[in-house]
Amino acid sequence: MARARVEEQPVATGATLVVAVGLGVTFLLFIAFLNVVKSGNLLTDSNLLYAALIFYSGAGTLYLGFGITGTPAYIRFASLATWAGLIANTGAVAHRWYEAGHPPFASIYEMLLMFVWTLAVLTLIAEQKFKVKVIGTVTMPLAIVGVVLMQLLRTDVRPLVPALQSTWLHVHVTLAMLAYAACALSFALAMMFLIQDRMKTETFLAATSLFSAATYVGVLTRFEKWGGLSVAAWNPEEKSEAFLSKGVRLFVVIPDLGWMLLLVLAAVAAPLVLYVVWRKTQDQGLLDMANRVVFLSILLQVLALVFFVLRARDGHYASLDADGLFPTTLAASPFILSGLVGAIFVSLLYLLLLWRREDLERMLPSADELDRITYKTIAIAFPLLTLMIAAGAYWANRTWGSYWSWDPKETWAAITWLVYAGYLHMRISRGWRGRRAAYFAILGFGVVMFTFFGVTYLLPGLHAYA
């Protein structure tokens, strides 16, 4: 042990970060504890969730630290923090279950709670069973985003409407969460495969820039004249969006935010432009510049996020459609928020890759192994998806008298199923391995995310509760 320490010394033991994270976690827990003492209510699901958030954040920092420096000590503490977070998360699930009197699967808030829980469990399994240690670098930030999103959604326990009072609902949702978490894992593994498969760092640069630019373009579809950005108006009492008339949402305009986001769009899109020019001219200087722009764009993105959070939180703004000032909150725009956070996170991951690629390659399992594990997680996800759809169809048949009604959620679940069926056929019959299979796995997860979030928020239908 002592000898090992001597040998490690030039590499740095990583004590500083561990101590810093430890102090940070302790400090935040202490602050939270003070608040709890003041309110006199210790064990509520929001308190437990807050504790989970603190631990997951600690774990995420340590996993990132491990990703950047490769110090083994980080992983030990990161797992420990993940365990602590998981315990708090389990407590939150149990409390919610007890309080609601039914398993927590009835609203998007409760589903996210379960999703984060499953993600933490799978991270620990992947780390301890498959020895994929850096997986926490991807999954923990996802968990953090999930918990933060949960703070914004309506949390009150609502009684189950008659259609949801069914055992089949629990079967259906449990299967869905397991399947989606397995898909998330296969996505992370496919990304790691691409790194191990010596995919060029420039390609990741282009992909990162494309993703961020697409996100900002999506957000900026709500750009209004005079440089404002329109967001949904929100009724704080009912914790729901305000409606102008039946089916017509009321939007308010946050001034100047549009200009700000337009500037950031230019910054995140610039690396893509530079990449395209580099493809033509092969001038290495362009790539260096692009990497510097990524760094700059992260600073700008954080600034935009802070600006958005400050302006959208409990503000009152004018609307183009009605007279007077209307309130809005962060919860009114979960998509904008998760888009902004997601883009920052993806850019950070790119920086990690740019600076520490060799360390990452050393720490990850071999490309072949990652390819195999990706396939195995999909081999788990696919039967779960099938059963999830079947349980949902059976439940719908008992409730609405029809097992399949081409509702958007149903249709997108079927599309997800088809995409993974395509993956399996290409892999088994056509021998698709490696990169093409990895692209397919990434595409599959994109469709899963759209089915889970996109359909709920963008497309109307029977599946309104989640």
Partner: protein, 480 residues
């Protein structure tokens, strides 16, 4: 040449590329079906608000406003089914040969190409003993080895989970079962709606569009209700239903959401519950002007009740929420907000009728001339229960397909067909060797480890038995 055309078509459909192109088309079109507002579910007004008339005309013309019922979508799904059938038909014979006639005695070239193999030299010349050792270990590992006897020697063949080779056909067949079921439902199934109030019966089901459908039996509602949570949101809706055939009640059941009544393949689902805006019973006291004792009556709409030998009363109108405007009485809503009742009091002898309004509405009421004074005590409103009715004769095929698919997928992914061969042979110097080879149809890395363990076990067992054999023969020698 002519004969090869159907063959070519079959081959095209069997091609996995065709299958994938078809699947991509299904994905794109169904995605379009979720992004474009769809006809039967969306209000016509809403669609007209969302799209300009030209665009809407184009979308309607292409069938894109009802993708999932358009002929080309049905055609596409049929092509997918055809592709699955063609692919299965083309591959099945080979797979079946492989399944039905396992490859038991491997030849030289096969043995050379096998990735997992091992040669074990045997010092002892007893071929049978060595093979028996391997046989015992394979038996213990669950391979159920069988002896393949050749002219002079015999070899071993053992395998596990051979059925997993056929599972993929089960999965494809199950998908066809699901398609078959949904096609049967699309052709023979129907859906509709029945609205009943308490005591009412009906044998007519109204579909979303088209003429009503007559059932060979009637359904009667004996009661319906709603229970609420403390915050007023609905917790439970229920209806007591009775099925009446040839004047006889043949089935009774209380249905709730998630628990339908099924009779002769027709399912009745609790779908909605609400006020009809009509009255069930109005409870009144009628006090005669001549000082006799008052009586209490419960009267329904258009019901006539005698009050004495001469006078009778009829409930002509009931308005739950009335408003008077321009000399007319109007109903403002179906809520019981501001009720008004119109009673007609008749005298049999004189044939005279008197209009009584509760409350008295000036200009309409003749309350003062009525021989009875009425006072409203209670209003029992009529509630309707909305029943979704469906007939899905194909659903059993769908569920059978789903169950089969679950089993098939479990076998496809989690049951590995593994085979092991043990063949005694002699090397160039005539030394006896045991050749052991194995293969798995998936999860090959896990099998590699398993194969190594198996070989190791056989090797160590062989050594022990050789030593034991040597000792035994030595004992025999010295014993002499």
């Amino acid at each position: 040449m002519a004969a090869s055309v159907p063959r070519k078509i079959c081959q095209t459909f069997a091609n996995i590329k065709t299958g994938v192109v078809l699947l991509i088309l299904v994905v794109i079109l169904s995605a379009a079906g979720t992004l474009i507002l769809q006809r039967p579910v969306t209000d016509p007004d809403e669609i007209e608000r969302a799209y300009s008339p030209q665009v809407l005309h184009l979308l309607d013309g292409l069938g894109l406003t009802d993708v999932f019922h358009a002929w080309w979508f049905v055609l596409l799904l049929s092509l997918v089914s055809l592709s699955i059938i063609a692919a299965s038909v083309q591959r099945f014979p080979n797979a079946w040969r492989f399944f039905a006639r396992p490859y038991k005695s491997p030849d030289k070239t096969f043995r050379k190409a096998l990735p997992n193999q091992k040669l074990i030299s045997i010092n002892n010349e007893d071929e049978e003993a060595a093979v028996s050792v391997a046989e015992r270990i394979l038996q213990k590992a669950g391979f159920r080895p069988e002896r393949i006897v050749r002219e002079k020697s015999f070899s071993l063949f053992g395998e596990r989970n051979r059925f997993s080779e056929m599972a993929v056909y089960i999965v494809h067949a199950s998908l066809l079962l699901v398609f078959l079921g949904s096609n049967i439902d699309a052709l023979l199934g129907w859906r509709g709606f029945v609205t009943l109030t308490r005591g009412q019966q009906s044998s007519e089901v109204k579909p979303q569009n088209g003429s009503p459908r007559h059932l060979p039996f009637a359904v009667r509602c004996d009661g319906a209700g709603q229970e609420n949570y403390a915050d007023g949101t609905p917790k439970r809706w229920w209806s007591d239903l009775a099925i009446i055939k040839d004047g006889q009640v043949v089935l009774r059941k209380q249905i709730v959401v998630n628990d339908p009544l099924i009779y002769a393949g027709v399912r009745f689902y609790q779908a909605s519950y609400g006020k009809t805006g009509k009255i069930d019973k109005l409870v009144l006291t009628a006090t005669p002007r001549d000082g006799h004792a008052h009586q209490e009556i419960a009267i329904g709409l258009d019901e006539t009740i005698p009050l004495d030998s001469d006078t009778r009363v009829r409930l002509a109108e009931f308005i739950p929420d009335y408003v008077v405007s321009d000399g007319q009485v109007y109903a403002r809503s179906n809520e019981l907000e501001n009720p008004a009742a119109h009673l007609v009091v008749e005298s049999r002898k004189s044939g005279q009728t008197i209009n009584v309004w509760l409350p008295p509405i000036p200009g309409f009421e003749q309350n003062a001339s009525s021989p009875y004074a009425f006072e409203g005590k209670d209003v029992q409103m009529a509630y309707f229960t909305g029943l979704e009715v469906s007939h899905e004769p194909g659903q059993w095929s769908v569920w059978a397909g789903v169950v089969l698919m679950g089993i098939g997928l479990a076998v496809v992914f989690y049951f590995v067909h593994t085979r092991v061969w043990v063949v005694p042979e002699r090397d160039a110097r005539g030394q006896l060797q045991l050749w052991i080879g194995g293969t798995a149809n998936k999860n090959k890395d896990a099998f590699e480890q398993r194969f190594r363990d198996l070989v190791e076990k056989i090797e160590s067992e062989l050594k022990i038995s050789v030593e034991a054999g040597a000792e035994a023969s030595a004992a025999v020698l010295t014993g002499r």
